[in-house]
Amino acid sequence: MSERAMPSPAERSHLGPYRIERQLGRGAMGAVYLGTDPRTGKAVALKTMALATEFDGTELEDARERFFREAETAGRLRHPDIVRILDAGEHDGTAYVAMEYLTGHDLQGHTQSTQLLSLPAVVRIGARVADALAYAHSQGVVHRDVKPANVMVDLEADVVKVTDFGIACIADASRTRTGVVLGTPSYMSPEQLSGRRLDGRSDLYSLGVMLFQLLTGQLPHQNEAMARLLHAIVNEPAADLRSVRPDLPDALAQVVARLLSKQPEARPADGWQVANDLRAVAALGSSVDPSGGVPVVTEPAALRDLEAQPFATTVSLPQPDRGHNPKL
């Protein structure tokens, strides 16, 4: 009953003008490939969606239209800290989006309490993400899925990139069937969970959850039963940052608490304000801490690395820091 009329990209050498090098993995909608733009020689990531094997008839036309409209919307976003969408097209029934290819890794790895980034790193990354969100919101685009897995960093290259902007909407186009397994709704804002209309401040809430987790290794709301977790996100106050990490500056705890307000009106009005508040926290840190806010290290090699990377990873301190356990 199923026709396999068209070859999968795995069996092809090109998608549009892009040469396929190898498969990188799979996204929510289909395979992701590493490609090369032969015109520039630059590497691109090609996210695909097998429209013609998923849809038929008028539904196919609708899906195609939605796909390209969303790709166009996402493509309008030009910001150094947002992954650039370069192109979108269709080749033999496979729709693709060509995006800048990123090195580095996402922040998911830094959400465990044993893998946390330093305080200055988190604050600086947070400010850049807030700026990127503010820009997107000013262009009328709400991300809707801000979370550590959607922020890529390359610490050595001082790169921070928010990913999957608008792609979340493109994924919606393909979600007329069971297709996505939800990992956790913990980054969703109260209004998202309540089915209300969203604006940019919903993304700011999610940013607040992300910051909380990057700073503590925990989520502001936790419950094993999902329905109770959802209820708590909507109705119960978030944990205070200082209850988990008393060493953190009050100013930072206040920024995060504001972001985690249930009411969008109680949050900062836009991402620029958040970025300013976070940079103020960073400045405060460097004026109070004689080491300039950068963790002190003993090994010279690590010190050299620190000078090269503004986002220093967690390093051993010569004495146990208050609020931290000595590294084993």
């Binding site: 799979r26 069971t178 939800l182 089915g195 959802l230």
Partner: protein, 260 residues
């Protein structure tokens, strides 16, 4: 207490391939239904691994052991078979980039004298139809259902949600998967319906009940359900398993398949 079974799938109106799968082992009184996810044919692969694997493994065990096994034994066997199927899909997903992330929902039922041992993962459903009343036996493992349970949205609002089709658990996407299983009583004349959301998202419970009532045989019932779902749009693959408890009805209750 003998049982009668019928199963069917249909790609629906809009999709070119069919990622739903069903399997019935008549001798073991075992039924399995799965709705797969993943691009190209990955969903098809996942759902077919689930149904064929569980039908074979659990079916074989039931034929050999059911006479001596109590319900706890059967439920444990069900857990083990689902766990093995999960690992098979998970491993396949990791060994082939084209299958990465594939998974499937699952409904598995073992029919025994006077009762149904029912397990499920995801948002494919099982209903029991008795005396003209349709009761949903499974609770969807979906974000939407959690939102409803948490009192954040109503069932009516759920129809318009952006979060549709976000399941909270699926077979094959993690190393382990929790199977939710329960026992449900069965009486003569009961009809049990298992279906993927390709059915339940297209027609409502009232319509399902009406179609069951007006069908003379299980096969006719399955056709009627699939046709109705397609007429309502057929936006997704449709899978249906119908089981009927033949045998004595108690006094005062109507026999099925008598048409009203």
């Amino acid at each position: 207490m003998p049982f009668e079974f019928f199963s069917a799938t249909d790609p629906g109106r809009l999709r070119r391939n069919n990622e739903d799968s069903v399997a019935v082992d008549f001798d073991a009184a075992l039924v399995v239904l799965a709705d797969g996810m993943g691009g190209y044919n990955a969903g098809e692969v996942a759902s077919n691994i689930a149904t064929s694997f569980i039908r074979t493994e659990l079916g074989r065990w039931l034929i050999e052991a059911a006479a001596q096994a109590n319900d706890a034994d059967v439920r444990r066997a069900m857990d083990i078979c689902v766990d093995n199927a999960n690992r098979a899909i998970f491993n396949a997903a990791h060994s082939n980039p084209q299958y990465a992330g594939m998974g499937t929902t699952l409904v598995v039922g073992v029919f025994r004298e006077g009762r149904l041992l029912l397990g499920h993962v995801g948002d494919s459903r099982c209903y029991r139809w008795r005396d003209g009343q349709l009761t949903q036996l499974t609770r969807d493992h979906s974000l939407l259902q959690e939102q409803i349970d948490a009192g954040l949205i109503t069932k009516e609002e759920a129809a318009f949600s952006n979060n549709k089709n976000l399941v909270t658990r699926a077979v094959g996407v993690d190393e382990t998967v929790p199977l939710e299983s329960h026992q449900h009583d069965l009486l003569g004349g009961d009809v049990v319906l298992m279906c993927s959301d390709g059915l339940s998202d297209m027609i409502d419970d009232a319509r399902i009940s009406e179609l069951l009532r007006s069908s003379a045989t299980l096969e006719a019932g399955a056709s009627a359900l699939i046709d109705a779902a397609n007429q309502a749009g057929g936006k997704d693959n449709i899978a249906v398993i119908l089981a009927r408890v033949t045998g004595q009805a108690s006094a005062g209750r109507t026999w099925w398949p008598f048409r009203r």
